[in-house]
Symmetry: C2
Subunit: 209 residues, 2 copies
């Protein structure tokens, strides 16, 4: 046996800073962590690479993957399909790499059903006033649009209690250290360590040297 | 509601470096962590303070505490009693302070039965050769004595899989960072955070500002 990665599901309302946290976590390009790369039927935008930003596939290929139950979660957004392949995730986990899946609570529920060992992390803003400040943006949007964003954020937040861990993103560096702490601890669980140190444990428990 | 501490049970064979790890963790006298202070019937040694190193009590008082089922674990060693009071631990946890209990696998089993939310952390040496090197000490002990220590260590190690987390103490700083990571992550679990941020969560989920 060797190290086995963990699948982390990261969810948050807009304005909680989830994307910045994930970018910061990946900044040094750690070899033992990866953001999950989704499949999509939409056309690549300039600069987007196949296999890096998305796995770009045609509609018929995507639908065939749905038929084969290859996706842990998928959705249709404005006529384009987006989905997360269970095979891709499992291959990565089997290499000992932790995979981060940036999805909403609905996607999280789908993934948890199929991959119950996934660890859910929910990122919260520190207060409603701060959330509104972050969602107000540059002051160019109408009160109605901002109220809509707030309502959507509160609806997402109402699912925080379906996750294993909760990070409050008040101070960014603290929140990043929190996320790193969760990832580190997960690698130290009995299951993870038994995989990683299988040979060493056999050696320690052997009758003689 | 307010922050609720976690009880950490730390076990290890001699030579794994558990005491050094706990000392390092407590070095800056963090306000939110405490090593559990045991009750004992043995006489204080020079420099030992009541309530700091031990709660020093008489035999009759100790036995009364046993009768009242006040101990999560207790043992008699060379005619002296040693025990861990559940009340003392719970009072500390209720102040939001994490408590560290330095006990062997037998004590750990007793504690887990009475306080199932306790988190067990087992510290391992990196290899049998390194363990023997550490247990050989200054080379003044007979091969028989060292073999006895090794047998006892291996017997303790055989219980590593009864713990939630496993730390391999190869590099001390890494092992200390591992321990800190486990403590940090535990404070971020859904249960811990729901206690700590009860008011904030109500505010975030309220209908309006």
């Amino acid at each position: 046996m060797s190290a086995q990665g963990t699948l982390f599901i990261i969810s948050a309302p807009s304005g909680a800073g989830k994307s910045s946290l994930l970018s910061a976590l990946m900044q040094d390009r750690p070899k033992d962590m990866q953001i999950s790369v989704s499949h999509t039927t939409r056309a690549p935008r300039p600069g987007e690479e196949d296999g890096v930003h998305y796995h770009f596939v045609g509609q018929s290929e995507f639908k065939a993957l749905i038929e084969k139950e290859q996706f842990v979660e998928w959705a249709e957004v404005f006529g384009n399909y987006y989905g997360t392949s269970q095979t891709v995730i499992e291959d990565t986990l089997n290499k000992g790499i932790d995979v981060f899946l940036d999805i909403d609570w609905q996607g999280a529920q789908q993934v948890k059903k199929l991959m119950p060992n996934a660890i859910g992390v929910f990122v919260l803003p520190p207060s409603k006033a701060e959330l509104e400040r972050r969602l107000t943006g540059r002051g160019q949007d109408s009160a109605e649009i901002i109220a809509g964003r707030m309502a959507q954020a509160v609806s997402e937040i109402s699912h925080y209690n379906e996750y294993d861990y909760v990070i409050v993103n008040d101070d960014f560096d603290t929140a990043l250290a929190d996320l790193r702490g969760i990832v580190r601890a997960q690698r130290l669980t009995l299951t993870s360590q038994t995989h990683r140190h299988d040979g060493m444990l056999k050696g320690l428990l052997a009758e003689s040297l």
